[in-house]
């Protein structure tokens, strides 16, 4: 089993996009695209060099009462398996 990602960053060429024609959040990448829901979009936009723990803390603040840790790990694991999210540089 792969290790959970400590510091998720989007893979080169993978980026978030708002589709104004379909009113959709999308994650686009070479030759493909996946549609994101609101929580998915929030997670993807936080894959910017902060750690997964920090990312979860931000979500908890944004959505009081939510316990997003399980969903975040699952979602990031799914994106990593597809090569869309990678382990970023570790901070000291």
């Amino acid at each position: 089993m792969p290790q959970p990602i400590a510091t998720p960053v989007l893979a080169p060429g993978t980026r978030y996009r708002w589709d104004k024609v379909r009113n959709q959040h999308q994650l686009v990448f070479p030759e493909g695209m996946i549609v994101l829901n609101e929580p998915g979009k929030a997670i993807v936009q936080l894959c910017d060099g902060r750690t997964t723990d920090e990312l979860i803390a931000v979500l908890k603040e944004k959505y009081p009462g939510a316990e997003p840790a399980g969903d975040v790990h699952e979602f990031l694991g799914h994106l990593a398996k597809r090569g869309l999210v990678r382990e970023g540089a570790q901070r000291d």
């Binding site: 589709d19 999308q26 070479p30 030759e31 090569g83």
Partner: protein, 368 residues
Amino acid sequence: MTDTPLPRPLSLLAEVTYRCPLQCPYCSNPLELNQYRDELDTETWVRVFNQAAELGVVQLHLSGGEPLVRRDILDLVRAASGAGLYSNMSTGATVVDGNRLEQLREAGLDHFQVSLLDTLPESNDRLAGAPSFDRKREAVLGAKRLGFPVTLNVVLHRQNLDRIAEVIALAQAWKVDRLELAHTQYTGWAFKNRAALMPTRGQLDRAHAEVERVRAEGTGGVDIQHVLPDYYFERFPKACLQGWGMVSMSVAPDGFVLPCQTAREIPGLEFPNVREHSLEDIWERAPIFQRFRGTGWMPEPCRSCDRREIDFGGCRCQAFLMTGDVTATDPICELSPHHHLVAAALEEAAQNDPPLHYRVMPRAGGAV
């Protein structure tokens, strides 16, 4: 017609030129290249990209020919990026240096895809009809240094399939992000060369086993795409483009809009042109985009088949090339009355080893 809302295209293939310094014998461009020299100008392509974005296109594929021979290629990339399209470029990478790569990056190109013909430099250069291996390698390494996601695309056939392990090793050594192991699609020049390009069943079995071995042991960070050729491996046809007019459209160098890039080789079809109509008009109203949309056009055995919305009758170009009838069920399907043509093609390939016909673009004035 059904009540389903009209789909919107997700991808647009912009074949910005048919000109190319290479002569690949499986090129998907038309055989009669000399007929199509009247290329769209910069302004028209920019308009097309803006219209594509408005219509809902997400992925733009800048291809050709060799897109990098266009002098305005940076303007085209900038326009695509400005329109909010995700821009992919498919290139032979023989006319690009570090400086041009940097300019492409700055212009907003999202993804760089390089074709390689073989892992042996002399075989690559022979198949391409020009010395190109070293330049391709430099372009891949240079693009990686600049932070591009890079795909290496290797078209596989009888003459290089036995080196699939070397292909994967090379992709790993060059640290590409994706490797497309693309078995030859038998349209365009490849159909003309089918008997010389078709691999044997033994070759394919060994190649398949090798890819599976690498996947099991770890691909070293390379996302490997491998789709086996339908002539040998499929009982049913591939859902080519999910049917015409469903998810994608192609614009040829001279502005004609095609439901599939190879469709213009089918005689008797009329294609609209972006010089006269908007992309939206074409997508919604041009007869060629409506004709094969959905399932209403289908003959038997497709019409009553449970798989009609799974494979959409297969590939229209392959159906035409093999049977002469663009509305026929793709002969790859075991239910097709023409299915025997598949076995006949394999038989012909097994018994012959004809020379390759190389794609040749006659030199003439008037190119952009």
